[in-house]
Amino acid sequence: MRGLSLLLFITVASDATTDLYVTGASLPPELEVSAAPAVTSPVASRYIPEEYGHPGIALARSAEEPAAPSTEDGESSSHHHHGGGGYKIVQWEWSYVQTPYIIASWLLVASVAKILFHFSQRFTTAVPESCMLILLGLVLGAVVLIASKKQPYQLDPGLFFLFLLPTIVGDAGYFMPARLFFDNLGAILMYAVVGTLWNAFCTGFCLYGVKMAGAIDEKVNAGLMDFLLFGALISAVDPVAVLAVFEEVHVNETLFIIVFGESLLNDAVTVVLYEVYISFVEVGPGNVYTADYFKGIASFLIVSIGGTLVGLIFAVILAFVTRFTKKVRIIEPLFVFLLVYLAYLTAELFSLSAILSMTFCGIGCNKYVEANISQKSRTTVKYTMKTLASIAETIIFIFLGISAVDKSKWAWDTGLVVSTLIFILVFRAVGVAGQTWFLNWFRLVPLEKIDQVMMSYGGLRGAVAFALVVLLDKEQVKAKDYFVATTIVVVFFTVMFQGLTIKPLVKWLKVPRSTNRKPTINEEIHEHAFDHILTAVEDIAGLNGYHHWRDKWEQFDKNYLSKLLLRKSVYHKSELWEAYQKINIRDAISVIDQGGNVLTSARLSLPSMASRTSFPEVTNVTNYLRENGSGVCLDLQVIDTVPGAKIEEELETHHVLAGNLYKPRRRYQSHYSRHFMTVGEKERQDREVFQRNMHNRLESFKSTRYKRHKKDRSQKKRKGSDAKEQDTSDKPRRNVSWQDKDPVVVPMAPEEDKHDPSEPDKYDDVGITFVARKAPETPKERPKSVSAALDVCQSPVAAPPSPTCGEKNLPWKSGMGSLPPCVSVEATKIIPIDLQQAWNQSISSLESLASPPAPPEPQHPRVSTLSRLGGPVRTPTKGKSGGGVCAASGSDTGSGQFRFPTGKEEEEEGTLSQQPQEMQPLMSSLRPPPPPATQSARKRRNPCVYLRSLVTVPPSGGGDPQSRRPTQL
């Protein structure tokens, strides 16, 4: 066993490396190097000592990896290890850790395999991941088989049904788009029940017919019952395979939900048929009486309805429990996982349909749970579920591949294999056509021919069938080995061949794709209105149609269920309002996302504004998430929307921001005040007072400012980075004209921006950049047209290295008057690391355009280009070292590299203490360590949102420090 596992790991390692060579042609070399050791080192160093049985193989294998330096290390250390002699300094406790170690290693292998597949973009778009995983499994299996002559790793049905399948089904159920599902429930049920029965019987009987006709070898010792049993298990469309393949194809939602819903709901049919036939096979066909058939039907009803009920009961329990978790937020996700899983296990316990149970538990509880639990818990649930499902899927496919290699388990019969393949394809197509013809009588959106082709072709078989066939008892089903082989072929054919070809087919047939568009607020509203209208029309026409019942259900839900299952604080929220908030947040995020784009494209568009712009289908961030969201994402929307019941204020601020971006500037003020209404009267007074104070202080401070600034500067210079000074000094030059107009410059020295790290602020790890500007002397200058401001952004200097700076330049606010836009660096948080690189690149390319260096203006080295609005705008960047924000166009710094302003800089901290007290208010609004007044204000406003990203314009004139508060949502 040990030797085997060792071998296996080494194989994986070498496999991974070769894989890299194959797929990673376009990769930078360091990737290969870094990837290989990651896989190899634990393997080689840990296992080689154990490997005495097959040292030759192990060494040979590791020798195959020229790019893995760690291999040598592993070997040498292992030799060393063995030289120890009688007394072992290090104990080898393999048997102690064996099980978890193997499991963890498998997970690692699976995950690394996934990474490797995704190195080559072109490759993964052509070949579905599931195919790659099966191939990898085949290779691994072959290697293990060659090495050990037997196959220790199998897709164990117990493991599969108890652990792997539930994670996938749980994820699918919980994130099932409920309305879409129920709108199509009729069709789904039809295909799941009638379609599966049809497939099962037809395949079974026809195989029996073929056998009678002699096309199947005599050795296949199977009667009618055996074939029916086989037909039952081979006929069910598999949720895992469907998800894996369809997820990458992006067909339209209706098509997807029908195929996927069918694959989930047919579980009951499969389970019952399987059980019934097993019992029939056991007692022998001769002893089956008519009553048994009726028992079978009764059993089907019990299994399906019972499973559904169990699921719904657990859904209610789960929703009810989460109502009371307010004090123990941390375990909220655990409740979700536990109860959903318990729904599955309980159904299994009573041999009901576990998949049905779990699916309905997920669908049922989702609405209430999502509303009850906190935002963080929501995210946790989402990502954990996706992670688990993704890894389970990976393992399933790899093990499918590995299991296929084990020759001892199966026996080949060409007749059986070929006829089974033909039958399942033909009957699937015929069944779909027939049922669709029937359904189209009732459906108002008929399923077109193309849809039918896709549905037939999408009928993938998968691991469920395989696990079921492995579960067969060879004593009773004599032809089990043949069935296993056939099942494997069928699964491989559907997943690999159909999976590979389905994408081209979709393109070729021009199947309507899913649009990644999100509904606009108009759509939400009108949709609600139309629901009401149609309900009313049904009432008037005296029909109890779909809308009638839907309306009845919603009344019930509102009056009883929601009351019982939702927190009081959440209960009174309106659905439409939630939708509205979601949309706003989405916009806000996309605006952040485009904060980067503004630099290059000078274009601002909100995705939900259908009429204004052509839909930017997905913004970069969402795109990124979507692309990388692995296999099992049913509802990716959750990733980029932050629904908020509890963070209302934050949301409102978001709205302010988002709304602001495209609103006439007039609006802003009213909105601003409106949304801060919640702050409360007293708070506002406080703020008012504070602001006035600050204003006065600023005024007095102005006079001293220059001096102080110089001093700070010089101090800083002494400390070091002269080069940076130079850079920054260039900036003013570009804005010379502005500066002339605005003699009063408030230079925010970078040091001033720093906050005391010790200050307890949740956000302080993220730099916040803001532009503080002193009361603008030249008000006429302010109304800059947006385009003008945008131009600024495009200039290299204006486009500071960090997104923050870019956002600073966002001109939206410029119209507002002299208000300095406050931008938070938080935005960068949202940008995945990978994108950051791209960001830096784009920045540096901009930099090359930089205008010639300007004569240094030592006094206001940091006068930013942003000051164009007539006020000398200071870019208090996070500090030079921090963002490198102001380092653009550095002549001697060579600071072409812009870094994301993430870390806190030592320098900043050091200087912090030196901050003049007067400056603090300005910064405090931005920075975590606010002076007491601000701080208190802030506290009250908590919870602050974290999505802060947008540009806020302070409501009133530039002198108002409070208004410069960074966007806190």
């Binding site: 959106v445 139309f530 009401h532 009313a536 008037i540 504004m609 709304g659 609006r667 409106r674």
Partner: protein, 201 residues
């Protein structure tokens, strides 16, 4: 069904009606029965009170607007002819029906469906959904669940989103543009209103 023809004969202008609405005789009869059931006093026409007697409709937040849509301005009653014509808005668009080139646009065209919905918003019939009108609908639909301010921000946002010509109101063209296919498919097509009727008969 034996009485089909005799019932039909009782309805005046039934041929024209079927021609205009595309309802089958079975539909017409079914609707006629319903009409008679609503018309409790047997006057041959319906007045708003008759609609108000429908219990479910009373609970519908925009029920009275829909009732209002049945009555052309100034009229207190609706006869069977109008009743059927209005319901015909909700027939699914039939693709198979041979298109007569010069026939007027069918009542159940997408455009007419949207126009029906539009006029539910546009109560003053000026061809535009103003902010106030939108607010009223929102208030009706959202009820007490949100504050007036929230309503207003939703309304503002909605108008900004749809408003192309910046007149702070939504014209029908704008309305049509922001009610894209989703609405079309989800609300009009998936509503098997008249389809079910067919089954019932």
């Amino acid at each position: 069904m034996g009485s089909t023809s005799s019932t039909l004969l009782k309805i005046p202008n039934v041929e024209v009606l079927m021609q205009e609405t595309g309802f089958s005789p079975a539909h017409i009869i079914r609707l006629h029965d319903r009409f008679k059931a609503l018309d409790k006093k047997g006057r041959g026409h319906l007045c708003p009170q008759d609609f108000g007697a429908i219990k479910e409709l009373a609970m519908n937040p925009i029920g009275d607007r829909i009732i209002g849509a049945f009555f052309s301005p100034g009229k207190e009653t609706v006869d069977f002819h109008t009743f059927v014509k209005i319901l015909a808005h909700f027939r699914p668009v039939d693709k198979n029906r041979p298109k007569e080139p010069n026939s007027p646009e069918p009542i159940n065209s997408r455009s007419n469906k949207l126009r029906f919905a539009f006029q539910l918003y546009d109560q003053d019939k000026d061809g535009k959904i103003s902010r106030d009108e939108l607010l009223k609908v929102l208030r009706a639909m959202l009820g007490m669940q949100v504050t007036e301010e929230q309503l207003e921000s939703i309304a503002d946002r909605t108008i900004q989103e749809a408003d192309l010509d910046r007149d702070d109101a939504i014209s029908f063209e704008e309305f049509r543009k922001v009610s894209p296919e989703i609405l079309h498919s989800r609300c009009f097509i998936k509503a098997p209103v008249i389809m079910l009727m067919e089954r019932d008969c």
